[in-house]
Structure formats: C-alpha cells, structure tokens
C-alpha cells in the first residue's frame, strides 16, 4: 500500500511537472546595452542651403524652370547599416521605412538596439530590395495598404511624386517609379559619411543624425513636366527620373546631435 502511495505521489508530481514544463524557457539574456539612433530627413529645395521643401507650395525647378506644386512625395528607404570606427558594419534588421512628406513622423527613422560605440558612416538602400518585391505578402512599412504596391505588375512603387503644375498640359503630374530587375532596376545603394564627425551611441540614449534631402534632383536628367508629366510603369523613363534622385548627391550629411 505504501508503495502504491509513493508511486501515486510520484505520478502526481510528474503531472504537475508536465503542466509547467511546456512554458517557454526564456534564457536570461546577457545584458547588452544599446542605444537608439534616429535618422532625420530635412527636405530642401534648390541648391545647397536652398529653401525648405514643402508640399502644397509652388517651387521652381532650377533645371527645367517648371513651377511645381507637390501634393505627394513618398519614397522607400531600407536596409540601414552603420559603420563603426573600427571599419566594421552594424546591420539594422528588418529595416524598411516609408518616408511620406505628409506625415512628419515618417521623416525621423528610428534605428533601435544599436550597439554602443562610435560610428562614422550610414549606408542604406533607396527603394525596396528586389527580394522583397518577389517574396509575397509583406508587413509593416511594406504593407500594400500604403498604396505603394502595383497589384497588376507586382512590385513596389518606390518613389511616388504627384502635384500640380501650369507647365504640364494636363495641369498636373504623377510619377510612380519602381523597377527592381534587369535594365529597369532603380534600387540604389547609398553611403553617407558623417564628414569627419562621429556618432557616439550611448546606453538608453537617442543620438540624432540629420540629413538634407533635395527632391529637385528628380529632374537632374528627366525633362520638364511639359514634355513628360506621368510615369506609371518601370522602364527607361522611370529609371532616368528615379536615379536622378536615388543615385546622385541628393542626400547629404548635415549634422549630428548627441
């Protein structure tokens, strides 16, 4: 009888252990201290130290002479990396941001869990890498509800520019620019040095990098809106216009606030 009682107690014990044993055993992580870096995009218009770029304001494009009133400017930036002073790179995981000039919050890109240290450069992708154009349904900034995805010809609209212009025959312009493969590819890698400054990331602290963005570079090689006022497919026109902005000196280092 005693044996049975002992066995029974053992059995109960095991059942209890069964109930508790399936709990996820989260290993106590080694405390790695990190900080936050924000990349702040200040949009300017015209040459260096030009005026502020604003939506719903008439701006004159210096190369084409067009008067442009922008109603929309949205573009993707992705795959952020920071270069440490020892020359190695820290890669920010799952790094997709939609910059939308009508949404001030979107102009400050949050890079979290950045390892402590000193950094000298930032590297990122203008647009959305080809892999994320061909891998099915995505979330976050890449959600199709942002209306930056072509349903009928799969792929992200990486840069959307819309507005009103008297120089355009229709009175308006709309450029939806994308393309991620072969000759149509507009995805562009960009590296910006902090020009001798360095960014120190300290524990539980947010360090800020300020960059200047000049959307007037869109017309670096593209013609006046009197000639071309609409693009809605990947191809040579899209590439010319997108690369004017993505590939040139359209984004420059401004300053750091620690």
């Amino acid at each position: 009888m005693k044996k049975n009682q002992i066995t029974f107690v053992l059995f109960l014990g095991l059942m209890v252990s069964q109930l508790t044993s399936c709990k996820k055993k989260t290993p106590t992580p080694a405390v790695v201290e990190t900080g936050t870096v924000t990349i702040n995009l200040n949009h300017k218009w015209g040459t260096a130290n030009g005026s502020d770029f604003k939506l719903d304001t008439t701006l004159v494009q210096p190369d084409t002479g067009d008067s442009l009133n922008f109603t929309t400017l949205e573009y993707y930036v992705s795959n952020f990396k920071l270069k440490k002073s020892d020359g190695t790179w820290w890669v920010h995981p799952d790094s997709y941001f939609l910059v939308d000039l009508s949404n001030p919050g979107s102009l400050s890109l949050n890079l979290t869990n950045v390892p402590l240290g000193t950094y000298t450069d930032v590297n990122f992708t203008m647009g959305v890498d080809s892999l994320h154009n061909v891998s099915g349904a995505q979330g976050g900034a890449l959600s199709t509800t942002n209306l930056m995805f072509w349903s009928w010809n799969s792929g992200y609209i990486m840069l959307k520019v819309e507005g009103i212009s008297n120089n355009s025959q229709t009175g308006s312009f709309a450029f939806h620019l994308g393309g991620f493969s072969g000759a149509d590819n507009i995805v562009t890698d960009k590296q910006i040095s902090f020009s001798g400054s360095s960014l120190s990331v300290s524990s539980n602290h947010t360090s800020k990098v300020f960059l200047q963005v000049n959307p007037d570079w869109l017309w670096h090689s593209a013609p006046s809106v009197s000639v071309l006022n609409s693009i809605h497919v990947p191809g040579s026109d899209a590439k010319t216009m997108a690369l004017g902005f993505f590939a040139n000196n359209s984004i420059t280092f401004d300053h750091i606030v620690e």
Partner: protein, 346 residues
C-alpha cells in the same frame, strides 16, 4: 499487479511529458494522421511555392477557404472569389466568356481555372503578378471585379468577431493585416491541386486508355506538348497564337513594354479543359473543336504569331476527335467535388 499498473501509468506520464512539448503548429506532418496537407503528386515537379514565412497549418487553410467563399471581400458584399472560380467548373467561371464584377461590370479577360497554382512562376494571363500571395490583390481591387480597397476589406474583417478569432488562432495576430489576409488566401489556393484525372491514373498505371485516347495522346505529344507540356500542361511561356492581326488587348506587352509581346498571353494549362469552356484569353471559342481548328489551320500570321503554331500540319477529322478524347481524360472529377475545397458554409 497494482504496482505494475501504477508503473505503467507512471511510464506513460513520463512519455506524455516528452511528447506534449513538441511544437503544435507550423508543420504539415502534424496533420498526417488525417492525411491532410500539401503533397507533391508523383508525376509533378517541385512546386514554386514553398510556404516560406507562411507555414501550412489546418487553421490557416480553413481560414483561407472561408475567405475564398466569402462575399465580405467585395465592395458591395455580393460576390466572392468563388463567384468566378467555382469548384464544379474546376474553379473557373460558369461557362461565360467574360466575368461580371460587382454591379455586373464585365472584365476584359476570361476567368481562368485555378489549379496547381503552387507550381506557377507567375500569375494572370499576362504574367504580371509574381507571387501566389499577392495575386488576390488584382481581383480584390480591380474595378471590374470585386472593386474593394485593401484598407476597407481589413476594416470589415477587423469588425467581424469570427474573423478576428480565426486570424488570432491561425496567425496569432490581434489586428488583421493585409499580410495575413493574403497569406491565408494562399494557404487555400495553393491546395487547389488537380492531379487525379484519368490521365494521371493512366500515367500511374492504375487506369487504361481507350485506343482513341492513346492515339490522341500520341498526336498531342507530337503537336501540342511543346507548349502544353506535361504534367502541368503548360510551359508557362507567353505566346501570340494569331487570334487577331492586331491584338486589342496588349497582353504581355502591358508588363514588359515590349511591342513584340503584344497579344501574347500565358499558355494556359489544359487540366480540366473540357469543363472550363469558353477558351482563349477573351473566351471567344466555346468548343475544343473550334480551338483545334484555330490552332491547326486558323492562326493568322501577324508577325508575332508563334512560328511553331503556323507550321503545324493539318489534322484529319479522326485525329481531331482523338485529341479531344484525350483532352477529356484531363478532367479530374475528384478535384471538383473534393469536400475539403468546397464552400465550408454550405
């Protein structure tokens, strides 16, 4: 004796301890007990879709199935995916050339039969869609189809307690997003596998062909299989088959911008072809006989027309009948009546 029983209970409790901690979802093999899950048919190649980031589970499949048949996905809540992709028509429309969207608006292309989609490298007649998960965006948002916005669909689903619970169970999300909606639909559409026709049974050696069917298969392999390649009965290329001197529908050119792709459309699979009339991208032909007449003798040389097609030698009327006999063997009744693919609310 009692001790032995207790010892047995003890052992079984220990075993239970080990077994019960195994992951319960995200793995097809979990459902082997009920013989459910994505399986590659013996005569098929490896599929294109591998459920990456969308591991197959029966909850996700069931959710996708419910959505496929639910009118909630259309603007006026009156049509569903199944309105134009009905199971008893091998998931094509009800023998109409062009399908009616909400309010009866007609589209410009024939709603294709949906089968073996997990093997497709691209979707739509022009191949403009590059992934099974994002394909539903076209019919969901097209003004001539369901005419909805993704945002409004999500608002309706998030206001629906049943869907909230089902998405929570299937994807562990508190808010339904377009990502999980599209993934759930792919869980269902990837399971529309047609591989149990008489043809498949013949290949497997479990059914025999009549003489006419055998002759038909021989002629088919000789003249048609270059594009309608077994076992999927398409090579997924885009061809202009000389339907018109100048194609009104630009077809593949819409995607590539290349004028030499004008009027090119994806070579359609011929699985269940006898049940999926009318034919061609615009549904202009109602019988297989008409289609054969066009392919063998009727193609116009518009400068883009597939040269192989123009060089096909004529068929005797007996040969034509044999080919049709063979094409009838591609009908997969089991696929059309499969209860696991049917409307779950009926």
């Amino acid at each position: 004796m009692k001790q032995i029983i207790f010892a047995l209970i003890l052992i079984s409790a220990v075993v239970f301890n080990f077994v019960s901690c195994k992951k319960k979802d995200g793995n097809v093999s979990t459902y082997n007990a009920t013989n459910w899950g994505f399986k590659i048919p013996a005569n098929f190649p490896l599929p294109n879709y591998t459920f990456e980031n969308n591991a197959q589970t029966i909850d996700r499949f069931g959710l996708g199935r419910l959505l496929f048949y639910d009118n909630i996905l259309s603007l006026n809540n009156k049509i569903s995916c199944s309105s134009c992709h009905a199971p008893d028509h091998a998931f094509s429309d009800h023998n109409v050339a062009l399908s009616a969207g909400i309010g009866g608006v007609l589209g410009t292309r024939n709603a294709p039969s949906l089968s073996n989609l997990a093997w497709y490298p691209a979707f739509m007649w022009d191949g403009g869609v590059n992934h099974i998960e994002v394909q539903p965006m076209v019919p969901l948002t097209s003004p001539t189809e369901m005419n909805e916005t993704m945002a409004n669909i999500l608002a309706k689903l998030n206001a629906n307690t049943n869907y909230k619970n089902l998405f929570k169970k299937a994807y562990d999300v508190d808010v339904i997003t377009d990502q999980v909606l599209l993934q759930a639909l792919a869980q269902f559409t990837s399971m529309l596998i047609s591989a149990d026709s008489k043809y498949d049974q013949y290949i497997a050696g479990t059914a025999s062909f009549t003489d006419a069917e055998k002759t038909g298969l021989d002629i088919f392999r000789n003249k048609c299989a270059g594009c309608h390649t077994e076992p999927l009965f398409t090579n997924f290329s885009y061809e202009n088959i000389g339907l018109d001197m100048v194609s009104v529908d630009l077809g593949r050119q819409l995607i590539t911008q290349n004028p030499l792709d004008r009027g090119k459309f994806r070579v359609p699979s011929l699985r269940n072809v006898a049940k999926t009339y009318p034919y061609m991208h615009d549904g202009r032909f109602f019988t297989l006989s008409q289609v054969l007449d066009h392919h063998i003798n009727g193609a116009l040389n518009n400068g883009i027309t597939d040269s192989t097609l123009l060089q096909l030698t004529p068929l005797t009327s007996a040969e034509k009948l044999d080919i049709i006999q063979f094409l009838n063997t591609l009908t997969d009744i089991q696929f059309m009546v499969d209860p696991s693919l049917a409307d779950p609310t009926h």
